[in-house]
Symmetry: C3
Subunit: 421 residues, 3 copies
Amino acid sequence: MQNNTMTDVMAAAVKAQESADYAQFMINNLWILVAAALVFIMHLGFATLEAGFVQKKNVVNILFKNSMIIAIGLMTYCLSGFNLMYPGFAEGSSGYFAFAGFGLTPPEGGMTAEYADYTYWSDFIFQAMFAATCATIVSGAVAERIKLIPFLIFATLFVAISYPITGAWKWGGGWLDAMGFYDFAGSTIVHSVGGWAALAGIILVGPRAGKYTKRGIRPIQGHSMPLAAIGVFLLFFGWFGFNGGSVLSADPELVSLVFVTTAMAAAAGAIGAFFTSFIMFRTYDLSMVLNGILGGLVGITAGADIMSVTDSIIIGLIAGIIIPISVTMFDKLKLDDPVGATSVHLACGIWGTLAVAIFGDCDDCGTYGAQITGIIAIGVFTFLFAFILFFILKVTLGIRVHEDEEETGLDIGEHEMAAYA
Amino acid sequence: MQNNTMTDVMAAAVKAQESADYAQFMINNLWILVAAALVFIMHLGFATLEAGFVQKKNVVNILFKNSMIIAIGLMTYCLSGFNLMYPGFAEGSSGYFAFAGFGLTPPEGGMTAEYADYTYWSDFIFQAMFAATCATIVSGAVAERIKLIPFLIFATLFVAISYPITGAWKWGGGWLDAMGFYDFAGSTIVHSVGGWAALAGIILVGPRAGKYTKRGIRPIQGHSMPLAAIGVFLLFFGWFGFNGGSVLSADPELVSLVFVTTAMAAAAGAIGAFFTSFIMFRTYDLSMVLNGILGGLVGITAGADIMSVTDSIIIGLIAGIIIPISVTMFDKLKLDDPVGATSVHLACGIWGTLAVAIFGDCDDCGTYGAQITGIIAIGVFTFLFAFILFFILKVTLGIRVHEDEEETGLDIGEHEMAAYA
Amino acid sequence: MQNNTMTDVMAAAVKAQESADYAQFMINNLWILVAAALVFIMHLGFATLEAGFVQKKNVVNILFKNSMIIAIGLMTYCLSGFNLMYPGFAEGSSGYFAFAGFGLTPPEGGMTAEYADYTYWSDFIFQAMFAATCATIVSGAVAERIKLIPFLIFATLFVAISYPITGAWKWGGGWLDAMGFYDFAGSTIVHSVGGWAALAGIILVGPRAGKYTKRGIRPIQGHSMPLAAIGVFLLFFGWFGFNGGSVLSADPELVSLVFVTTAMAAAAGAIGAFFTSFIMFRTYDLSMVLNGILGGLVGITAGADIMSVTDSIIIGLIAGIIIPISVTMFDKLKLDDPVGATSVHLACGIWGTLAVAIFGDCDDCGTYGAQITGIIAIGVFTFLFAFILFFILKVTLGIRVHEDEEETGLDIGEHEMAAYA
């Protein structure tokens, strides 16, 4: 070593620095990928949750829709969605709409200086796993009476056009981002977007036959509580990737905080729903507790990276309280939602976005004005888009199965197959 | 570069070192988080395993309990459990009991010099996921006849008080740690703790109606073997996080060894149970093989980081042999355990803890004396705590459902809902 | 710092470099372990997929087989398979067969210079999780009529001998590797190997009673589409580890590309099967879409690290188109495969291996000659091995259950137990 010149030594230090930086890049990138896989498993969570909450005669149909939605989501996001959501708005752009062109255009080796923390491919796959989520939310809400093909057309166009446009307003650096709207992992951008579209679908497709009768609301029980519970636990599991991956790096402080706030909000959601549903219905209602967990998760999603543990518990608790109230309210309005998707994703999505303004305590945490603007702007756009699209489908292909088919079940009607032989 | 001074170059080397250290911190921390997520999914494993092993009429109840247990576990561990289990015993303390106060008190940014390998938040969430496990074990053992609310009260107090106190004796640096007791990931501290409480509950709640008749033991079959199998595979999957994460870093040598010993013990457990149950019952008994896998996993847990592959296979094999023998023995004693939790978690938990003394080959691997002391001390404390608590609940609220309700099923009785509509 | 000598500074730079290199080693190793856990969960995927596709009366049997296969796979791979598949062919060896001895022989600390990116243990456990896969594939194809014990003997010998020998030809650095055969993660080495053995089994065990009647082919519906769907989603999830881990490091560029090609091929597989099965059968066939996803995954497996996104979509789409055609063809040939394993793993495994020659665009991407040689050589060896082994079992123990048992179901016949009480 005595013969090392100063230049040699500096070169060794620089190389060591590069190796260390590359190690950090590797770990950041790997976390985005693992998180993408966790978000993927949420699609199984949705599939089983929805399958559990529908009647036995409509199970093949819901599984079919969920299997196709993930496929459609990945394909459309690859074809256009990614470039519509992350268009790289031109400087001075108003940030409402831009499109970076069809297909994926990875930089050399899938990496670029822009991606200090992960590759182009990791960015795409993580975002693509998110994209299909909003369509899945709709799937559950309109289950048991919507026609398959119109629904799949809806899902394709909704994921291809509506979701990325509103997503770009914030995550693509658009106008909502510029005005300070805060939505960490998508209480609004993903969940309430799914919820608004679900609401539009519910209004246009109408309630299931026999649900709202002259003698009152007839509960239509889901056919398998184990499937529903499997769904909720898998969604909880996947949410560690959904929220944890949204840190967009493996930053130890942030990712671990996000794990804690996410889990505590879910736990508090269960407890909020437990007590509220007992007070309201005088029974220990499993579906309320399950949806309470999901409500807590949706509620924390907008601010999972900025909340204290106490905040996250309060947010989750309120989300859990919202669930049975919201489910009851939607039922009173004769808006029939077999899985409670509007309560979980729309009501708690709005709540979580507002909670950022209430509890958030940082410079860019979203004022009331910014949060409400975001909720309304994205809500109006999404609801109108979904309503018009469902309406066009209604007057052209029709969106509702024949009443005989509804009676017999969509499994035989659409798929000539029973879920349980 | 010619103009670099010695000081510049040293600063570059120091900065490179810091970046490399931070990269290691990132990866260690990420592994604890991923492991926490894996331990979380074990709760779905328990939920489906127990649901599968109970009768159709009690499925909603078991799912409800498991959904609430994870919520209660996270909440109580956050409120007091974490600070009771890791109180930081004062120097010179006897190491039996200390409490660091209510709520979480993270250092600035969630990190501190104490946590060289992971953040405060990661530490909490990983440990919190463990905490609820012991209550889940009880849930299965007393299933199909215990009242919901008394059980939830039991679970809350057990997780809040009993589990952290005995846990502190070893993992919190208490008196068992000082005397050389070795329990890597919790054969005793988690599994037999759950098992002892389960035993206390079984004794006090009594067997299910019709199980032990004058004409002998009537097997009460579980209602869904697919659910049970899903549970076991998910538990196996999650155990990679349970044991692997207990290394408390991403240390390549240790974590990969732990993966191997864990998997091999599980495999050997299946094979041990396969042969033993065939010899005993002359049939190929799926529930024995499934519990054999779990027995192998519980057995290796105390020493997963110090065993050779051969050791791990022997430990798993013996655990698998224990399962059918233990199940038969508990049945002969008229201790009715619908899911075999006492055999899996108590019998194999004790076995695994003893195995450390038998096979362990390192300086701090636990002598027979230390291991037996730990087993007995934790066993006595836990059994008494659980027995007294269940007893108080029995004479106040009552812990057993009415025999009509047991006949009809707890799903209708406690939840006014059937698992399968 | 002024007192630092040149030697001190260089030592600091060297130490920083070592720390950075170790950080990279940690992350590479951790990814292999996480990937191994993901491949493990594929065994639950297979178990639920196969359980869903068989009749209610044979569910315990299929779960039993799958539980034992993972145990047998791990044990035999530990005993001999690993050293047969990675024997370290001697220089100048013809690369057909070598054996490095029984048991595992880890280097000091489980690590060696040979394992720059991961430990010996990680290498073993990742490969061991793969090994059992090929037996699982057979399990589904011969379900509902094969005797349990002969099947388990078959599985043991197949995993212990046949799979590692052909695997060594490529992944162990044998003759197929030398001639340029390319199979990234095992379209041929794992999937078609399972498929060929399945075909041999199907031929020798014969179709299920009542499947091929004088009045034509009678479809025998699977008993639970939710279980089948759970299986496919879990397999998709696990495939991120199967293909992503096969990079054998956490290389950001390659692993993230593999995630994208894997997911896109699966999505395209669903879409290909959707349209093709609609054209062929005029219905929306859930089992075809589910198998289309799996077909796409098998198809991309041979070249997941070298394909463009467009390539991966085309490969998946064609795999999806193959599925209903292949299923129909096997049925026409009266080769009865309850789960479609031959179509998914054999037909699409061959397709994926050929696709490397068609789409591959790199120096070592496998010529048509090399790919076809590999497909045929491994196919012939595997088929003959499996055929002879099944044949010996047939003439000795018998491989088919009695027709009464087939009628009643294997659950009662072999296990004295019903899947659903």
